[in-house]
């Protein structure tokens, strides 16, 4: 990647202070986002994928958490060194973000038009009238019918899918270089999910905005992303182009995730029962204790003493496919 990477995250550590001790929510994660690509970050709840996203925008609440170590470079600027004012002018402009809960992510007492236009006024140095025109244009773009009327409506007058469209319109209103989407379709109906994902991909093609799509849904990853980072317990365990990951998952955790996807193409037996879904045995490790060795070792059937003692380095399986596992035989 290197040359074309617009966002480079290196060895990111984000920690939270809790009553139980320091939680290492993100523990040494590195990845690149290339211009205009769609990168998926996948993992189960609590693996640190949302915290990674919030860290990039430096939206970790300072009372409880902090970026302890690592580097986040965006268009060559080190984001961890920028002042809060400089970050503010980046947020919603060069890098923007949409969230999981369209029901609660829009302000209930401000009109949709105000919420989109204020972003434009903030970053594009234009009048409110021009920003309102831009807001209407954006609503057209995300295919909300009757945009002019919708501008003056409040979020509670819109459905969940429409609200997520508004969030997308808002996030894209200043032509960002990177759009971070944190579980953007999780709270929506399946049919609406597909529409929203299609819309995001279509707009990406149109605008050239790179998308970082954070999800726990491998189906979403398969359909929309080009490259995937798999996270477990605050660490990256595998990274690959999406086809390679699905054809040849290397890390035992990734394989476990794949086996946990319900399949309709497996034949039922004579009694009409299908094979049970395989779950990954065990629980996610507690993140208040530093994890020695591979984070997945406690749940891994291949784990050896070496896995429990030493953190496995990333090995290159070729074609941009890398994995951190001692037991993978290439």
């Amino acid at each position: 990647m290197g040359v074309s990477a617009i966002l480079e995250v290196r060895d990111l550590h984000t920690q939270f202070n809790t009553l139980d001790g320091v939680v290492r929510a993100v523990d040494g994660v590195s990845f690149d986002v290339a211009r205009g690509e769609t990168l998926g970050i996948v993992g189960e709840s609590g693996c640190g994928k949302s915290v990674t996203a919030l860290s990039i925008l430096r939206l970790i609440p300072p009372e409880t958490g902090r970026i302890a170590q690592g580097s986040i470079r965006f268009e060559g600027n080190e984001l961890t060194h920028l002042s809060e004012q400089q970050m503010k002018s980046l947020r919603g402009h060069r890098i923007s973000m949409i969230f999981q809960e369209p029901m609660t992510s829009l302000n209930p007492v401000l009109t949709v038009g105000t919420q989109i236009a204020e972003n434009v006024v903030r970053h594009m140095n234009v009048s409110w009238a021009a920003a309102r025109d831009r807001a209407r244009e954006m609503l057209d773009l995300v295919r909300i019918a009757d945009a002019r009327r919708r501008l003056d409506e409040y979020p509670h007058q819109l459905s969940g899918g429409m609200r997520q469209r508004v969030m997308i319109a808002m996030a894209l209103s200043c032509d960002p270089q990177v759009l971070i989407a944190d579980e953007p379709t999780t709270a929506l109906d399946v049919t609406i999910q597909a529409q929203i994902l299609d819309l995001m991909i279509e707009l990406k093609e149109k605008t050239g905005t790179a998308i970082v799509l954070i999800t726990h849904d491998l189906g979403v990853v398969a359909e929309t992303t080009e490259r995937v980072v798999v996270m477990y317990a605050g660490r990256k365990v595998e990274e690959a182009p999406v086809e390679a990951l699905f054809e040849n998952p290397l890390h035992p955790y990734t394989r476990g995730l794949m086996r946990a996807i319900p399949r309709l193409d497996v034949e039922a037996d004579a009694a009409g029962t299908r094979p049970r879904l395989q779950e990954i045995p065990g629980l996610v490790p507690i993140l208040t204790q530093p994890i020695v060795g591979c984070a997945f070792a406690a749940r891994c059937e291949l784990a050896t003493d070496r896995c429990r003692a030493t953190l496995p380095p990333f090995v290159d399986a070729g074609g941009g496919h890398t994995v951190a596992c001692w037991e993978v035989k290439l």
Partner: protein, 313 residues
């Protein structure tokens, strides 16, 4: 909306009727014989009976009530037992200082308390927050009359910056008018201010946890816009509610403040009338205070619809 306002106006009628019923009987059934008091300490039994007859206090309670309500409906609050002047005229003479005092207190308290609460919530658990909220607890715990005398001692007696007591009408010039209101307003407003500041902080703290605040921050909006528009507008319903509830606090505070500062307003009139058992005045005042409270509640209920678009009537 108009239909709602009309409906709400009609709904105030039974409230006022119950208030009227309550004040009438409460005072009649309270211990102490007004006829004996009016007749004076040395009066004979005959003299007391004569006074009782003259004022109609010997009639059955129900009859007294009907006569009183009938007059009330015609805007007649009766005649003061002692001064023989119509209650409405007595009130009209005393209303200006009270309006000046409550409005200045309201404006000053609200315009200071809300920014204080917002800053405290923004800097929650930091030094500013702890200092400000410490003062708020102190302010809320301090009785009005204690604070009033402390203020008088320092600002009027020791440093001689402001008048000790008294009231100057606006016609006496703007500065004398303002000067005479500063200490009473502070004394009266501190409790109220503490109450509003605490509610503002609590309400803002809750709102600042919401997802839409994270969205606003993710848009890179300036801090003041996030706090004063995105957060405060959402936090406003409980704040406005407490401002309204606090009006009752102000009315009771006015009685004390006007007494301490010797301000010839409705509060002083109340104290004088109660001490003399001048029933018509006391009844009239309670009705007026209750009416103010009902109107304030109405205004607050209507304001909700403007503050939160999800509220529709």
């Amino acid at each position: 909306m108009t239909a709602y306002i009309i409906r709400r106006l009609f709904a105030t009628l039974p409230v006022m009727a119950v208030v009227a019923l309550f004040v009438f009987f409460l005072l009649r059934l309270a211990p102490g014989d007004p006829a004996a008091i009016i007749a004076g300490d040395d009066a004979t039994t005959e003299a007391i009976e004569a006074v009782r007859m003259k004022l109609g206090l010997d009639r059955p309670l129900v009859e007294q009530f009907v006569v009183w309500v009938w007059a009330l409906l015609q805007g007649d609050l009766g005649v003061s037992i002692f001064s023989n002047l119509p209650v409405t005229r007595l009130m009209a003479q005393r209303v200006e200082p009270t309006i000046a005092l409550t409005l200045s207190t309201l404006v000053v308290a609200v315009s200071l308390a809300i920014p204080i609460g917002v800053v405290a919530a923004w800097k929650a658990r930091k030094l500013v927050d702890r200092v400000v909220m410490g003062f708020a607890v102190l302010g809320f715990a301090m009785p009005v009359f204690v604070l009033a005398y402390v203020l008088i001692y320092f600002f009027a007696v020791q440093w001689q910056l402001l008048p000790v007591q008294g009231y100057q009408p606006m016609s006496a010039g703007l500065w004398p008018f303002v000067e005479s209101l500063i200490l009473p307003s502070v004394a009266l407003g501190v409790t109220y201010m503490a109450l509003i500041a605490r509610i503002t902080r609590a309400s803002m703290l809750e709102v600042l946890q919401q997802d839409y605040i994270r969205t606003a921050n993710a848009k890179g909006l300036a801090t003041d816009r996030v706090l004063l528009l995105h957060a405060l507008k959402n936090a406003s319903v409980p704040i406005v509610t407490v401002i309204g509830i606090g009006i009752a606090l102000l009315i009771s505070g006015v009685v004390i403040t006007e007494t301490v500062f010797n301000i010839p307003g409705l509060g002083r009139l109340t104290v004088d009338a109660v001490l003399k058992r001048d029933y018509p005045i006391v009844q009239g005042l309670i009705l007026v205070f209750a009416g103010v409270k009902v109107v304030v509640n109405l205004i607050i209920d209507i304001s909700y619809a403007f503050l939160d678009p999800r509220i529709r009537y």
